[in-house]
C-alpha cells in the first residue's frame, strides 16, 4: 500500500508512484501542506515560532505561509520559549489551536515548566474543565558539528509525562496525517520531526486525512527478528533489513509512529512472532523509549523473547562536535545489522 511504504530514494518513488498515478512529495512539503490546509480550513489554527516567517522557512516546512496567511497567524516570536509556550497554552484554553515550532528540540528545556507543569496537567487538574489543543513541533537530528546543545532528542522525557502525547512520524504520509490528527486531538502533542527525514519522499494524498494517534505500523514483514525503529531510524532499519535478507535473516520492521500512546499490541504481536527484538532510536541509551518497550514485553510474559535485546542508539555521552567523534557517536544501518546478527547468531 503506497501510504505505508518507505521509499529509500527519490528514484524508487518516481518509478512506483508515477506508474500508479499517485502524487509523491517530500516530508517537509507534507508538513507544509498539512499546516496550510489546517489554517485554510480552521480559523483557530495559527503558527508561532522563532523564525517561522524567515526565508529558510524552518527547513521549508513553513515556506510561504506568512505571505499567504499573514504574520499574525504565522507569527515570529521573541526568543522566550517558556512564556511563549505559556501564551500558546493560554490561547489554546480559550478556543485557539496553536502550532508551536521549535527549530531545534534542544530549546525545549527552556519551556519544560510550561510543557510539563502546565500543558500536560491543565486538563487533569481542572477536572477536564479546560484542555489544551496544542501541537509542539520539535525538530531533532544530527547537524554538522552542532555539538552538545544543538542535536539532542527528548522524546523519552516527554513519554514519561502523563498528559502529553508524543508523535514521531517517519514518512511524508504519516507526517501529514499525524499532524492533522494531532491538531484535532485537543491535547498537547509533542510532534517530533527528524531533520534527516525532511527530504524523504512518498505518496501523500492532496486531501486532508488523519493517521490516528496510537497506531503503529509494520513497515516490512519478517520472521526472525523485530526491529522497532523510531523516526529516521525507520530508514536505517529498512536498509539493514535489506542487507540482512541477503544473509537469510528475515526482519520485521515496526514503526510505532506515536510513542504516547504506544501501540503496545502491535509490538507485542510482532515480537511474539519473531521472539527477538532490536530497538533503533535517535536518542541516548539509558532511559530511552526502547527500555519502556522492553519493559512492556517483560510485563506481559517472560517467555516471549528467546534472545537478549539490543538497543541501537546514541551512547550515554553528550554529542561531540568533531566529525570523527560524530561518526563514532551516531548509529546507522550497519549498527542495526550488527545488533541483529548478534542476537540471531547467539540463540
Amino acid at each position: 500500500m503506497p501510504w505505508t511504504k518507505v521509499y529509500l530514494n527519490v528514484e524508487e518513488m518516481a518509478d512506483t508512484l508515477q506508474k500508479e498515478g499517485l502524487r509523491g512529495i517530500s516530508y517537509h512539503e507534507a508538513i507544509l501542506e498539512a499546516q496550510a490546509q489546517a489554517m485554510e480550513s480552521d480559523d483557530r489554527v495559527f503558527i508561532m515560532g522563532e523564525g517561522v516567517d524567515d526565508p529558510g522557512g524552518i527547513f521549508g516546512t513553513t515556506l510561504g505561509l506568512a505571505e499567504r496567511f499573514g504574520k499574525d497567524r504565522v507569527m515570529d516570536i521573541p526568543v522566550a520559549e517558556n512564556a511563549m509556550t505559556g501564551i500558546a497554552i493560554g490561547a489554546a484554553t480559550v478556543g485557539m489551536k496553536p502550532v508551536f515550532v521549535h527549530m531545534r528540540n534542544d530549546f525545549l528545556p527552556m519551556c519544560m515548566d510550561q510543557l510539563v507543569n502546565h500543558a500536560a496537567k491543565l486538563c487533569y487538574m481542572t477536572g477536564g474543565r479546560l484542555h489544551v489543543p496544542l501541537v509542539v513541533r520539535a525538530i531533532i537530528g544530527r547537524g554538522w558539528g552542532s555539538a552538545a546543545q544543538h542535536a539532542q532528542a527528548f522524546h523519552a522525557l516527554f513519554m514519561h509525562i502523563p498528559g502529553l502525547k508524543v508523535v514521531m512520524p517517519s514518512t511524508p504520509y504519516d507526517a501529514k496525517g499525524l499532524f492533522l490528527a494531532a491538531l484535532d486531538d485537543g491535547n498537547p502533542v509533542m510532534f517530533i520531526e527528524h531533520r534527516w527525514t525532511f527530504n524523504a519522499v512518498g505518496y501523500v494524498p492532496e486531501e486532508m486525512y488523519r493517521v490516528p494517534l496510537g497506531e503503529g505500523i509494520i513497515r516490512r514483514e519478517g520472521e526472525d527478528v523485530t526491529i522497532v525503529a523510531l523516526s529516521q531510524q525507520v530508514y536505517e532499519a529498512m536498509k539493514a533489513a535489506a542487507i540482512l535478507e541477503a544473509d537469510g535473516i528475515s526482519v520485521e520492521v515496526v514503526d510505532p509512529r506515536t510513542l504516547k500512546p504506544l501501540d503496545e499490541e502491535l509490538i507485542l504481536s510482532s515480537v511474539s512472532k519473531t521472539r527477538r527484538l532490536v530497538i533503533a532510536d535517535v536518542a541516548h541509551r539509558t532511559g530511552s523509549v526502547g527500555a519502556e518497550i522492553v519493559c512492556r514485553i517483560a510485563e506481559t510474559s517472560a517467555d516471549i523473547l528467546v534472545a537478549p535485546i539490543r538497543r541501537v542508539c546514541f551512547p550515554d555521552t553528550p554529542i561531540p562536535a568533531s566529525p570523527v567523534l560524530e561518526e563514532a557517536f551516531y548509529p546507522g544501518a550497519d549498527d542495526i545489522v550488527e545488533a541483529v546478527r548478534e542476537i540471531v547468531k547467539g540463540s
Binding site: P78, A83, G86, I87, A88, M96, H118, C123, G127, L130
Partner: protein, 331 residues
Amino acid sequence: MPEATALDIPADIAIRLSRTMMLIRQFEEKIVDVYGVQDMKTPVHLCIGQEAIAAGVCENLRTDDYILTTHRGHGHCLAKGASPRELYAEFYGRRQGCARGKGGSMHPVAPECGVLGASAIVGGSLPHAVGAALAIKMQGGDRVAVAFFGDGATDEGVFHESLNFAALKTLPVIFVCENNFYAVSSPILARRCNDNIVLHAQPYDMPNEQVDSMDVLKVYHAAHRAVARARAGEGPTLLECRTYRWKGHVGPEADHEKGCRPKEELEDWMQRCPVEYLNQLLLAEGIITEEALAESTREIERELDDALEFARQCPFPDPREVLENVYYTGA
C-alpha cells in the same frame, strides 16, 4: 484607621465592593475555622488582608473577561463570580468541586465565569493570561484578560517574557501584581534590590501604577483605567498593588507565630484593614447603616455556611476517577 477620604464612585459600586471584600474575608475565615479538623486536606493559601485587590479589579470585569490566578487565588475566583459551593467542595476533594476534586485549593477553575485556572508554580499562569489576551485579539471583541500574581512571581523570567510579548502585540491584558512584600518567608528585599515592582513596566513603555491596596477605591480606579485602555485596544498595563497578607504563607496560622516576621509589622498593617476601611467610609457617608452591614455579614455567613454544608455532603469521587481527565476525549 486613616481618615476616610470622600467616596468618589457611585454608591451601588461601592456597596458591591464592600460586599465582595466581605465575602472573601468571611470565606477565608471559615476555612480558618474548619481547618484544624483536618478534613479539608489541601494546602490553603489565604488572602486575608489582600481582599481589596480582587474586589477592586474584578468589579471592572465582565463575565466574558478572563482571569488567571495563583496558589493564593480564592479571592480572585470569588470576586469574578465563582461559586463558593464549588470552591469549598473542591477543597474538600469532592466530586462537585469546581475541578471534580482533582485540583484542590491551589487549582480553582470556573470557565463559566472566566476563571481560567491557577498555577501553583510561581509565575506559571502569567503567560496564560497573555495567551488568552492574544486569543481575544485574534477572535475580536473588547474582552480583556487579567493575570493576578505575587511579588515572588516577578523574580521569575517568565514575568518579564510575558510583559514583553504583551507590550509588543498591544494585547488586552492587565498584569496585577499583589506585592505583599514576601514570598513564603523571604522578604522582598532579600530577593531584589528595591521593592518597586512597577519599574518593570518601563522597559516596555507599558502604562503602570503603584497602588495602595488597603484602599479598594484606589484599586478600583487604577483597574478601571487599565481595563478601559485594554478594551480600547491600547494594550497592557502593569498594576503593582501594595498589600499585606495577615496569615502565614500556607495554612491558618499567622507568620509571626512561626518566627517568620515581626508581630508588630502585622499589627501595623491590620490597622489598615481594607474591609473596615471601606465600610467605615460607607458608614461615614451614610451610604450604609450599621444594621445593613450587620445584615450583610449575616447573609454572607448563611451563604457560606450553606456552601460548606453542601461541600461536606457532596460525595467523594470514585477512586477510579483517578484515571479520568488525563486527556481530553471530545466535547
